[in-house]
């Protein structure tokens, strides 16, 4: 942390998300390539055979617009595809159909709430909500898969042409914690939109952070501190940046960034500018390493894809693509409408499966009627706690979950006669506990409560038991018996 007072980290992100459509991006081959025999899911288009004509998948375009809208982007009225050229065996045409100067969406933002800062005194007065600018959201095609065996590289084109959305942020991050929280939020949003599994391990979500540091004097440091996106606080970007590839978990993204910052600071302190390069990440050694750079990597020779006419989006078309309730809105609703604690609302809303299950339970007609009849105003909070504390599994069928929940929430009806008799008997039998209690050992009464509860098989209200016990112990009739 001390070292960072001299150098300010400048971190941006490139995020790829594979869309879950039925067909590929430019042909009718299946987009689901998982577990298929190699090269059984291809056609002349996705194999890049000469003369094959790519046609864009409308659903993929709509879903990219949806992601753009969810990230507060401006949707371009006119958008087109471009060819990005490079040679690599996973790319059969020698170019990737991507988007260059007219992407589908631009200039968005995503806010995160990183409560780690609530512990840091330097930020105690500032807002914890942070905005990070989204540069662009564009659509392209995925490449084939390579398998390196012995002296061969094997190529499988089943994944070639699967719709891939690229989300690029401005270099607004200055620490790896914010990056991790941002990515978790983004992943949750993507899942709420239902456009992708966004699974890091399966590779349907991929992250490439770019990391560099800028040297600042103290005055500049003050001005730029934690105001991402504020032009007044911005300084000239570093002359180099290091991209880290092949990271398959958010934890590793954080570790890779932390390692890079340390590595680069060590160089900068010796007066060396780190090399502009792409590095890989080794999660076992927790280090990044230089990779042989793709030759001519920066001579992509972008030009408009002549085989695909431009796309035009009317106001109406864009308006009809509706963004559903997003995790942050849902969290606010749970807090404001149902009185859930923030951390509970957070846990429930993190997983789409959990939050949808919760919604199904609380909106169920039987549950609603029960709530009204028994006047349980905080029923939703009870249900949330049952889910969070795993008192019932969300793997249960909805009807079974509801039945058990209602049993748990049923106000306890106490058999008064039975209870009174039991209490009298217990007080007689447990003179030691009674004496202890009289001597001021408050805890002693809990022993008695436990005994009563056991005898009543839980069918009694603990509060009633305590008050009855206390009353009976201090009952003079009883005293005289002793």
């Amino acid at each position: 942390m001390n070292k960072l007072t001299k150098f300010k980290p400048v971190i941006g992100l490139e995020i790829h998300v594979e869309l879950k459509t039925k067909s590929k991006m430019f042909c009718q081959c299946e987009a689901d390539y998982f577990g298929k025999e190699p090269n059984t899911n291809t056609c002349p288009v996705c194999l890049g055979l000469p003369g094959a004509l790519p046609v864009p998948n409308r659903k993929a375009v709509e879903r990219t617009i949806l992601i753009g809208k969810a990230l507060d982007c401006k949707i371009n009225k006119i958008s087109k595809f471009d060819r990005k050229h490079y040679f690599y065996p996973d790319l059969p045409k020698g170019y990737q159909i991507s988007q260059y100067d007219e992407p589908i969406a631009v200039k968005g933002k995503l806010s995160i709430f990183n409560n780690q800062y609530s512990n840091q005194s330097q930020n105690s007065n500032s807002e914890f909500d942070k905005n990070f600018r989204i540069t662009r959201v564009h659509l392209e095609e995925d490449t084939g898969k390579l398998l390196h065996v012995g002296s061969d590289t094997l190529v499988d084109f089943n994944r070639s042409g699967v719709p891939l959305v690229e989300i690029v942020t401005e270099p607004d991050f200055d620490n790896s914690d914010d990056v991790k929280v941002f990515l978790e939020e983004l992943q949750t949003i993507i899942r709420y939109l239902g456009v992708s599994d966004a699974d890091m391990e399966k590779g349907t979500m991929r992250i490439e952070p770019n990391v560099s540091l800028i040297k600042l004097n103290l005055l500049q440091l003050k001005n730029v501190k934690r105001v991402p996106g504020n032009p007044k606080g911005s300084v000239k970007l570093p002359k180099y940046k290091v991209e880290v590839k092949n990271i398959n978990s958010f934890r590793f993204v954080k570790d890779a960034i932390d390692y890079e910052l340390e590595r680069q600071i060590a160089l900068l302190e010796k007066g060396i500018t780190p090399k502009q390069e792409t590095r890989g990440y080794d999660p076992d050694k927790k280090i990044t390493f230089g990779q042989r750079s793709k030759e001519e990597a920066h001579d992509y020779r972008y030009f408009p894809e002549p085989d695909i006419p431009p796309m035009t989006f009317s106001e109406k078309f864009i308006a009809e693509i509706k963004v559903p309730e997003l995790p942050q809105e849902r969290l606010d609703r749970y807090i404001n409408k149902f009185g859930l604690r923030e951390q509970d609302a957070f846990v429930i809303t993190r997983s789409l499966q959990t939050t949808n299950y919760f919604e199904t339970i609380i909106t169920d007609k039987v549950v609603q009627e029960f709530k009204a009849k028994k006047k349980i105003s905080n029923l939703e909070d009870h249900v949330a706690k049952i889910i969070i504390n795993k008192k019932l599994s969300t793997d249960l069928q909805v009807r079974a979950f509801i039945k058990k929940t209602l049993e748990m929430l049923q106000p306890k009806e106490t058999d008064e006669k039975l209870l009174n008799a039991l209490i009298d008997r217990l007080i007689e039998a447990s003179s030691k506990a009674v004496e202890d209690y009289k001597k001021g050992k408050e805890n002693a009464i809990m022993y008695l409560v436990g005994q009563v509860m056991r005898e009543m098989k839980g069918k009694a209200d603990a509060k009633i038991i305590i008050s009855k016990l206390k009353a009976q112990i201090s009952n003079p009739q009883l005293k005289s018996k002793n």
């Binding site: 459509t21 039925k22 067909s23 042909c27 009718q28 081959c29 299946e30 025999e37 190699p38 090269n39 059984t40 899911n41 291809t42 056609c43 002349p44 288009v45 194999l47 094959a52 046609v55 864009p56 998948n57 409308r58 659903k59 993929a60 375009v61 087109k80 050229h85 040679f87 690599y88 065996p89 020698g94 390579l146 398998l147 390196h148 012995g150 002296s151 061969d152 590289t153 094997l154 190529v155 499988d156 084109f157 042989r292 030759e295 001519e296 001579d299 020779r301 030009f303 408009p304 002549p306 695909i308 006419p309 431009p310 796309m311 035009t312």
Partner: protein
């Protein structure tokens, strides 16, 4: 015809981008030939283009899409897919190890 002189480096760069292996003689040859070709293309400059809007599209079409999940009429069998490959192993295309 006057011609543009292309350097050896220009030709080697283009060869690399085109994934072509050229012999020394060929590099020499293309220095001349390609220069002539580029010079010929320059004839286009004689055309009056100041009122023509630049385009990358000549069909005047827009918004050509297909519907997700449409029947795939062009899918290739695995035998067909790798049929013309020079090197293959089982169902894979094979290239010399790259990493």
């Amino acid at each position: 015809m006057k011609k543009i002189e292309l350097t050896r480096e220009d030709i080697l760069h283009l060869a690399k981008l085109s994934s072509l292996k050229l012999t020394d003689q060929e590099v020499e040859k293309y220095c001349n030939q390609l220069g002539e070709t580029v010079e010929f293309v320059k004839n286009l400059k004689e055309l009056k283009t100041d009122v023509v809007i630049p385009t990358s599209q000549i069909t005047n079409l827009t918004d050509v899409f297909f519907t997700d999940g449409e029947t795939n009429k062009r899918v290739l069998t695995k035998e067909k897919a790798t049929e013309n490959a020079k090197y293959k192993k089982e169902k894979y295309f094979v290239v010399k190890r790259i990493m």
